[in-house]
Subunit: 478 residues, 2 copies
């Protein structure tokens, strides 16, 4: 059967009305995938332990660089180092770009500066920068000395941009043509020119000062006739990214305007590079991960870093929480006499604090997320605050009644039931308000709300919880 | 100055070594941006309130659909509805694809089925499906009845795929050519054919049964000569996405293999559609947001839903936490007599529980995140567990000594200091272990660890915290 556009068409038509298949049992698929990965990793580790180099190379060669990087990330440090010692220069340089944190450091640590230089030269500039920024300054210098002139200058220029800026993410190779060129001229240029990026998705049109004046996706060029002028085809609606923009902002622009690539411009608005969406996908993932971890007081989610580093990165948060817990204990200590008289207070008081903490965490997390996605701004803070207050009054009242009844029955003490109910309503209102106000205030003060909100908010609900419950008890029960 | 490739080159060279500018003061920029948005929103709201329709249309027309959608999301419901009542069919259909949750429901609620049908016809199929899945079944039927035959069938086919599957994300328009075509034939086909997607980034090569056998990015086609055969240009290394695959898995494949678009195949491996990265960027963002919210016990982060809905979505979690808090109180109640004798126990016991809870939350969050990014699998669970245990012993010991000394001095009771120190070490070890084991076990049981981990882990650390501290106190102090 020969396939021509004419008989391709009905095929498309048929595909369009095709009914979906039943979905595969996803969990089975997943664990099958994981099992295959585990089996492969076991084979590789066995080959390393047995010194079977040929077998090892065969196993590794068939893998996509991203999958090999995953396996290297999952290995223990000993085998990771042994594997790289065998492969050395034969390790696909792309693997370096897919590795992260401690695993990348260990792999690079095995290689000689000359080997790293060779690998880096095979990468696009943005990826090379990404790898080299992991090195210590002195080691990086050693590597760069062995990188040929032009690449070295480009890499050094990339490294000179601030960390996490658009300048670090961009590649310098791109296609830029003058507006008066025809499609035919552009295609001819593309076919003749050797020094072009591997993949590109749009063609930029620049003025004589190299300022971008328009752009067009490749699909437009392909559908145009050879005589059409670029200036007639291009759109001047184009998102330009300042080279110093933070990567989180860059990711926002890509997401907001559904970009696949975008032009990067310097302060004088000249085109200096291009960022492609594949790098942005990693940034979005990274930033989302940072927020999740920051809310829990963790600055580093890398499972491959050492016990010592993990301990150090988490200790500060725990110490801070110890201090706030002691503050809450000072509040309890104020009511020692009441507790001695009515031990039920000691039994019930953690409930009031804990419910406030949970309600506050809910509100705070929604607020932190909404701030990150820009769904919570100065415009609607007051409205959202009102809603959260209403929600905490509604939920707080219902839960307070439930707990009040339980407490009254448990300790055969109606007044105690009313005191705990009142304390819960108070604390959950405070929780709703502080869950919004703390992250919003931190954002205003230019402090990352994901990093600092939790400790403030839970301190507030602990202290108010103990104070409201024990204070009311001291007033009305003792 | 005329610009030719020859004098473009040095410009590129110059750009490559250009030093970066100092970064703009980012916060100022951001708040300027936010201020501009706030001012624009105020103008729009004033135009709505003043009934100045012409002014309103002028303000709205100049906006990018994504920015208008943001503003609509930030407005209160009253103005949101009023705006759509003015614009009606003139509302850019793309705005619907950028709106989310409650705001989208409200906007659609204003429009007549005929108006929605008209808007939906202007969208790509995947976006149309995205909008229509928000409607009630009966309303959706009313809309679909007014959509012309071919589009309706395509939309219905999309809606028939399971929610959150590749089938819902894909578009059906794509470029597929036979392998024996030349580049010239392909270009001619592209130029003549009208029914093509707006944007496409690769050309798929299919066999006579419409099974994908290769692909090439557009840039390859553009750099090839007109006589070259597609089969010689294409790469057969290609990521094929099963149509029933969950969107989280699809996002994983895009991230793992740096895809810009990918072919979607049905059960018999025929090409049925194409997914592009712009939709995946939204999925990644959405899934990351879901995990953050789920850890805090929130199933819905939409700031625009009603107070009633917010209360309902959060109540279950709070009730569950109330029950676990009562369980912890039962443990305290067992030691009522000890607390009556030594009220310092009531003062200090929340510290032990809270430190365990914080340490566990740190470990658990790292584990949940590492499970999501597949950096924690069956292969390295045991190793990671060992590390976490070591970390919790190290940090737990240091913090326990600090707290032991404070307690001993505060209550002039050395034995009390030793008891709280021992209880803290025990609870933080339990925290480290449960922080890993609970999420890993939930994942094995096919329960989303982000949703269920927190309540298990904090219940464990509360109960063990109170039990260890009060139990040791009862044994050694009373």
């Amino acid at each position: 059967m020969t396939t021509t556009p004419e008989n391709l068409e009905p095929e498309i038509g048929e595909a369009e009305v095709a009914r979906p298949d039943t979905p595969p049992a996803e969990t089975e698929d997943l664990s099958a995938e994981e099992e295959a990965q585990t089996a492969l990793l076991r084979d590789i580790v066995e080959a390393i332990d047995g010194g079977r180099e040929a077998r090892l190379r065969t196993l590794v060669e068939s893998l996509h660089s991203a999958d090999l990087a995953d396996l290297i990330g999952l290995m223990d440090a000993h085998h990771r180092i042994a594997l790289v010692e065998v492969l050395r220069a034969d390790l696909d340089p792309e693997v370096l770009t897919e590795l992260e944190g401690a695993a990348l450091e260990q792999v690079i640590g095995v290689l000689e500066p000359g080997e790293i230089a060779e690998a880096v030269c095979k990468l696009e500039i943005d990826d090379a920068v990404d790898v080299l920024e992991e090195l210590e300054a002195s080691e990086r210098q050693q590597v760069l000395e062995q990188v040929p002139g032009e690449e070295r200058m480009a890499i050094e220029a990339g490294l000179a941009y601030p960390e996490d800026s658009a300048g670090r993410l961009m590649q310098r190779d791109l296609i830029a043509v003058p507006p008066f060129w025809s499609v035919g001229q552009t295609l001819e240029y593309l076919q003749k020119e050797d020094d072009l990026p591997n993949d590109f998705w749009e063609i930029f049109v620049v003025d004589p000062h190299y300022k971008p004046i328009g752009t067009m996706p490749l699909s437009w060029v392909m559908r145009a006739t050879s005589e059409q002028k670029m200036s007639d085809l291009m759109t001047s609606e184009q998102t330009l990214i300042p080279v110093a923009l933070d990567q989180e902002e860059v990711a926002y622009l890509f997401r907001q305007y559904n970009l696949v690539s975008a032009a990067v411009v310097d302060k004088s608005e000249r085109l200096v590079g291009m960022i492609t969406v594949d790098d942005i996908v990693d940034v979005i993932d990274e930033e989302a991960g940072e927020d999740i971890l920051a809310l829990a007081g963790v600055s580093e989610g890398d499972v491959n870093i050492s016990v010592r580093s993990i301990s150090r990165t988490r200790f500060g948060w725990l110490l801070l929480n110890l201090l706030t817990a002691i503050m809450a204990s000072l509040v309890i200590a104020m009511f020692g006499a009441s507790i001695e008289k009515l031990v039920a207070l000691a039994v019930l008081m953690p409930i009031v604090a804990s419910m406030g903490g949970n309600a506050a965490t809910q509100t705070m997390t929604v607020a932190v997320r909404a701030l990150a996605t820009r769904e919570l701004t100065a415009v609607n803070t007051f409205r959202v605050l009102g809603k959260e207050l209403a929600v905490s009054i509604m939920n707080g009242t219902v839960l307070a009644i439930i707990m009040g009844v339980i407490a009254a029955l448990w300790f055969s003490n109606q007044a105690l039931g009313m005191v705990i109910a009142a304390a819960m309503v108070i604390n959950m209102m405070v929780a709703g308000l502080s869950g919004i106000l703390v992250p919003v205030a931190l954002e205003r003060l230019d402090i990352d709300p994901a990093v600092a909100s939790t400790v403030f908010v839970t301190t507030i609900t602990d202290i108010i919880g103990f104070l409201a419950f024990l204070g009311l008890a001291a007033l009305f029960l003792i």
